[in-house]
Amino acid sequence: MLDHNTTLSIFAKLDALAGGLFLLSAFGMVAMRQVLAYLNLFALQSVLLASSAFVLGYQYESNHLIAVAGITLVVKAVLITWLLRRTIDREVYARREISQALNIPSSLLIAMVLTIIVYFVSSPLLSFASDPTIKFNLPIGMAGLLIGAYVVTVRREAVPQVIGILSMENGAFFAGISIASSLPLIAELAAAFDVLIIALVMGLLTRRIHERVGTTAVGKMVSLREE
């Protein structure tokens, strides 16, 4: 029971701490009601992702991962957050409650169940983990991905859906920085910009929907339905 203490270094612990908080922020996104709080939580999650990348990069002396941490910080925590805040007028942010298909306590329970599923899905993989950090980053990232997917499905507002998708990507990257740490930087650079472009395009589209339809409650748009 106590032997893991000797095998896990302080770096692994710090990484695990970032992982635990990352998971908590994913849960927080399920529980948040206000759009602005939700956005801030996303920024926090991105910072956690960056810090995990930084810790891993420092541990393995990989400049490459530290660069990833920097890119994440600049693109996700700063640029995208700023962009999304600019996208729509303050009216949506001022509104207190996001309409949601399921109430929050049951959503949290579903998120919980998803996490437990992830635990079982990822446990056969973890035996191939060459590094202790994979044991945190892979399952927690996967859980972040699934919880994000759940959030996108339940929320009916445009901006929370966008943030949900970005948090899914955060989850995938959180797993990625440990399992695919040597992926060429060019690919990760491009991926970061891909995320930025997606956020930009979604922001533009949200704006257009707001101009054209007068609301950003995309969940209420049901003119295209299977008969």
Partner: protein, 316 residues
């Protein structure tokens, strides 16, 4: 042997003496943050003194429960004090009697009687407060359970003295994600259990919105004093568990020298002062939740403790 009994008694005395002070400091700090002068930090002592010298009025309709409850509320925190590390890092004479779960049950017994007594007098506000307290308690219970299970899962024990050592040997354990998340969950529990904002407003005077306070409305004189004192001690004991077992397991007496034990008294007070500062910031920056939002608050605590459990599982 005799030493340990003496230390145990010192421990109880410390809790009895300083519990009102902590309340007083908390109230004062809160008022200062709200740019008011506030009552003296010794005001709770004066209140107790005043109440002890007043006549007691007991409703003729009430049963023995109403009369016994103040004593139970007063005694249960003292019992718990015997079990937990307040001043020393090693188990004292009575510590064999129970673990953290036992302590939790003893505290719950006091709460149970307070609830019964509130219903007993048929004062309309009592039952309202009692049912709300039960609702919060009912939701907080599973979280308590998960927190305790996670703690015992990590440390391999529910004895607070063993758990406390777990976090600092080696120091890296302190940064264990499950530990940090547990602290967070436990903090939320303390807020819910001791009726602080955002769950309940302890300084509110509007009976309809009260949760915790309305239970004691019918008491007067000595019984009221015991209830208040008992409540303060319960808060103190909860903070002791939180601080000495989870957050800052340092600064406790490690040897059996009397000087060490006495030195631990100011240290625990300093720790509590630090925590109270945090609590005051939380209380001043949040608004009280609507009654039905409390579910979400405790749901968040539940999720946090589950997240702690999961990260712990992943580590293995």
């Amino acid at each position: 042997m005799v030493d340990r009994i003496v230390f145990n008694i010192i421990q109880v005395l410390v809790v009895m003496t300083f519990a009102p002070l902590i309340k007083g400091v908390l109230n004062k700090l809160k008022e200062i943050i709200q740019s008011k002068r506030g009552p003296s930090i010794f005001q709770p002592y004066r209140d107790l003194w005043k109440l002890f010298h007043k006549d007691e009025v007991v409703s003729e309709q009430s049963s023995w429960i109403f009369r016994v409850t103040p004593y139970i509320v007063f005694v249960t925190p003292i019992f718990v004090t015997l079990l937990i590390p307040v001043l020393t890092g090693y188990p004292l004479f009575f510590a064999f009697m129970g673990d953290m779960l036992g302590g939790g049950f003893i505290l719950a017994l006091g709460g149970f009687f307070a609830t019964l007594a509130a219903v007993d007098t048929a004062n309309p506000y009592g039952p309202v407060g009692a049912s709300r307290t039960r609702m919060v308690g009912f939701l907080a219970e599973p979280v308590f359970m998960i927190v305790f299970f996670t703690v015992s899962f990590i440390a391999g024990s529910t004895i607070p003295y063993i758990v406390q050592k777990q976090w600092v040997t080696p120091l890296a354990n302190f940064f264990d994600p499950s530990h940090i998340l547990l602290m967070l969950a436990f903090l939320m529990l303390i807020i819910a259990e001791s009726g602080r904002i955002p769950v309940d407003n302890p300084s509110g005077h509007f009976e309809l919105a009260m949760i915790d306070e309305s239970k004691g409305l019918e008491y007067s004189g000595r019984a009221a004093a015991l209830m208040k004192w008992g409540g303060a001690m319960k808060f103190f004991v909860l903070l002791c568990i939180f601080l000495n077992v989870l957050v800052t397991p340092w600064g406790l007496a490690q040897t059996e020298a009397l000087s060490d034990v006495l030195l631990a008294i100011p240290l625990i007070l300093v720790k509590m002062f630090g925590f109270i500062l945090v609590l005051v910031v939380i209380e001043s920056s949040l608004a009280k939740l609507r009654l039905f939002r409390i579910t979400e608050f405790l749901g968040a605590a539940f999720i946090t403790s589950m997240a702690a459990m999961i990260t712990r599982l992943l580590e293995m």
